[in-house]
Subunit: 222 residues, 4 copies
């Protein structure tokens, strides 16, 4: 913002800039406080505009929340797109996705917080976001192609569903970040950078290990 060209008094660009400012402030506010505890006043102040603007741009609190939630998904999708998974060797592609996911969860804490909040509310809002499925399907498609490639190369076992794989990845990346406060308090886990990085390595190892076409792998231990 500081490096932006000098602001013109009015015009179409200002509207978009205002919209962005509100959206980003809302994303922070909703993710830090949750839906109920988030304050429209706080969003207005953080965005540097007056409250009525928010209503004029977004409608009401719920609509603003929906926009913030969607923005969280848009951001992670944009990050995943930049990975260019198709250009990497399958094992590298998966490892890359795991690392990106873990890091994104860690560095953009509002994503996890928004998901937590939304799931607490029973997912009412996400259903109403029409294109949310499209947003993610790109990544799933790419992952499917990576898996196919890996099977063809003999480095992945067959029959893996990309969605299930993504859920495994997300599971392992999500919990240590989303629950870091309770982990620290209950298990005395030292949730610092070193621990988190170690955890990230362990997670990517585990995910890749699970993909390997090892004959004696599962279901033979009972």
């Amino acid at each position: 913002m500081a490096t932006a060209p000098p602001k013109r008094k009015t015009g179409p660009r200002d509207a978009e800039r205002t919209r962005r400012a509100i959206l980003e402030a809302a994303l922070v506010e909703f993710s830090e406080k949750g839906h109920a505890a988030a304050r429209i006043d706080a969003v207005a102040e953080a965005a540097g505009i007056s409250k009525p603007m928010i209503y004029s741009y977004f409608g009401d609190k719920d609509a603003l929340y929906a926009a913030a939630l969607r923005e969280a998904y848009v951001q992670i999708r944009a990050g995943e797109k930049e990975l260019q998974l198709g250009d990497l060797a399958p094992v590298e592609a998966v490892r890359s996705l795991v690392h990106f996911t873990f890091d994104h969860f860690r560095q953009k804490p509002w994503f996890i917080s928004m998901l937590n909040t939304e799931n607490l509310l029973g997912g009412q809002t996400i259903q109403s976001i029409a294109d949310v499925g499209d947003i993610q399907s790109n990544m799933i498609s790419e992952l499917r192609r990576v898996l196919d490639h890996g099977v063809r190369d003999g480095v992945f076992r067959d029959g893996i569903d990309p969605v299930e794989l993504y859920i495994t990845i997300a599971s392992l990346c999500y919990f240590p970040i989303s629950n870091r406060h309770t982990l620290r308090a209950v298990f005395k886990v030292p949730v610092d950078d070193a621990w988190v990085e170690a955890r990230k390595r362990a997670v990517s190892d585990m995910v890749l290990s699970d993909l390997r076409p090892c004959a004696k792998r599962e279901g033979d231990d009972v």
Copy 2:
């Protein structure tokens, strides 16, 4: 409680029963709505008592929330204790813990919701619950013994930290339940009993697979 003398309809014993009623209603209310959206009125009504009783028994909303959070931990600990992990073969013990964890998350949804809520608040409350570490340390101790046993029996690899293992288990069990609403909406996952049961099996397989003392396991795929 089980050893208490038979409860009279009314009288001095009402105090304890009232306390329990409030606590259980609060656990449901806080977990369904989150901290900010939870209503003291709703707790009172669900508990079948008047609002002032809540203040008389618990102090204020925050204290009631803290009591509910603690109760969530007490409940899962009680369940884990009943597993008697020490009496089972190591592999069985781990599988049993995974299944219990998964099922508890699924069947007592307030546990996950309370953790989500608490982590959203930055873990302020859990830190103030003095004995929360003790509550879980039993389970960790037992898990450590199971791991040692498994290493001695040659069915588990060496050097596994019980806390890290538990975090892996919890990660894999937590996410599919806690994020079921967004998963359904975003990935069109059919989050029904069949899917959840399949997921549970996949998770326990994955956990056990990761424990196996396979020489060519990790770090050799880059």
Copy 3:
């Protein structure tokens, strides 16, 4: 209380003792907090009994307040009676009354506080205390005799109404005590024992000076 004879379990004396305990606690509570801010709970705790006892002994909060107000008057009357004004020379009697009044206001702060509170409420309660006039009339009668005596002795001027004199005395003794907090804050008056004692002397001098049969006294300065 510590030196009281061993308490019998029940009996007529206990009832009276309980009554006194409640009354004294109420006097303190009402005078320290005022009518609205006084808490029945606080009275019960200070009296060392349960709340229902207060209702059983006094009826309700207003009745308890009335009893406490009456008690404040009874106490000051008892003090005035002990002065035995009739046994003193007129000048001494007046000085004695001034000093007693000043000291009583200072040492039994609840009297002033109760009067403040009652006047804030518009004197609704004091009107309902049937015998409150009788309580004070003794003192006024004695003061009238002192004044007559003084006139006969030639030390007081004639035509002084005892009630007006008492109002003058009370005025001068009341304000420096009742308003000590605002005096300190607004005028930086050092409201300590030395100041208060000096004020007491000034007040008694002023009162006696005003009583003296000096020819060129009043009304000649306009």
Copy 4:
């Protein structure tokens, strides 16, 4: 305020008018009921605005109370200033101050009530009003000049502290007004205009008599 541009019906100037309306309503409410019994609802209704405005303009009940208390002092200072004591002969100046004080106490009953309330609370609030000393110091300065002038003219005795004199004046003016309800009930004083006016004369005579440089005045009667 008198010099402000003509007020438009609505618009930005409403803010100041609303503020005044709240402040005046608060002054009446707090003085009539005391701090604890005063109702924010009542203030809002009397001011003709909604409750949230009070919080927006003043913060909370305590801050509103503090503003009302300060306003009471500002009002009496403004009145004292108009007296122009410096332009009067010393005796007249003192008599004028006494009469003004007495009349102000009588006609603006909220001043006495606010002081009573504040002293009941132990003066906590007045201490936090930073400029309360300045508010009154003008009057004390003027009074000091009047006393000096009177000494020079030979109409006042020497060595009188203006603060002590003001306390004497205030004492004698305060009590008959502040305690009018209990005086009526206890001493059957007919607290009507006639009595009050007579009292006012008696008070100013007494104050001036005490100032006169009469050789045989005090301390010689014991």
